[in-house]
């Protein structure tokens, strides 16, 4: 059994490529073989935003069982605030590789021990962990987009938006987070998730409609600003 205590955290920024309709992961794909060459026994944690299935595919491509995913799960511009007292720590590794699962869990524990709180650690498959990051980010985009559209409506009809927003968000199930209208944020994760739904068959009220709306709302708000 391999005794290894070394980790490499791959944390490149990834942009959404409109051409490829996917995250541009070229920097990660270039770095991984170099990491394997420089530190062949190290476990590699991918923190970057990646398409669904990327971690699994890289493991297959590089013929190695040492890559797991540890998504950042932080808000843009609030990385430090969200990382020091994280609401949860998610790691994803193939359940068929128990040694890798143990290494991923240990890495999560290191992050948890450095945190100011006592966050829950969630261990799941690599693709499930990737999906968790995309869905969480897309939900934030949806909520922000909802209040942007409320703002547009109030302005058009001459209504007082602050009063409406306060009345809506004092409902504890809705909450005040992300309720301040803004210029619109390009929801990169929503774009990526929209692509991931391409091979999902529509059933009744198709979830694709919501995901597509999250992807489009930021774009339309910015173009109208």
């Amino acid at each position: 059994m391999r005794r290894c205590r070394e980790y490499v955290l791959v944390a490149y920024k990834t942009k959404f490529s409109k051409l490829k309709k996917n995250y541009d992961t070229a920097a990660i794909e270039k770095a991984l073989p170099e990491v394997r060459k420089a530190a062949p026994t190290a476990y590699i944690a991918i923190q970057s935003a990646v398409p669904l299935g990327f971690t699994y595919n890289m493991g297959v491509h590089l013929l190695c069982d040492c890559i797991f995913v540890c998504p950042a799960l932080v808000r843009p511009s609030f990385e430090m605030q969200d990382m020091e007292p994280p609401s949860r720590i998610v790691v994803g590794a193939s359940k068929y590789k128990p040694e890798l699962v143990a290494a991923a869990t240990q890495f999560a524990q290191l992050l948890a021990e450095g945190a100011e709180n006592d966050p829950p650690i969630l261990c799941m498959s690599d693709t499930e962990a990737e999906a968790s990051a995309l869905f969480a980010d897309t939900f934030r985009a949806l909520k922000a987009g909802f209040f942007n559209e409320l703002d547009t409506y109030a302005e058009t009809k001459g209504l007082h938006r602050e009063d409406i927003i306060r009345a809506v968000t004092l409902d504890p199930e809705i909450g005040q987070s992300l309720s301040i209208p803004n210029f619109g944020v390009i929801a990169v994760s929503a774009n990526q998730l929209e692509t991931s739904y391409d091979d999902v068959p529509q059933r009744g009220a198709a979830p694709q409609h919501l995901i597509s709306a999250a992807a489009k709302t930021g774009r339309s708000r910015r173009s109208g600003a």
């Binding site: 205590r5 490499v8 955290l9 430090m80 969200d82 450095g114």
Partner: protein, 53 residues
Amino acid sequence: MNRKITILGNSTAGAAAAAVLSKHNTVTVTMDPADCADAASMCWLPTKPNSAS
């Protein structure tokens, strides 16, 4: 047991993770200065190899 963690990349989230992991007495966090300079400066981190004491 001492653990070595290397951070590669230019994301601020990576630098934030480095800051959290550096709190451990038994963890040595190394950031690639070429990759991480901008991100580390946003998180008030040194870009030289950092061994938490």
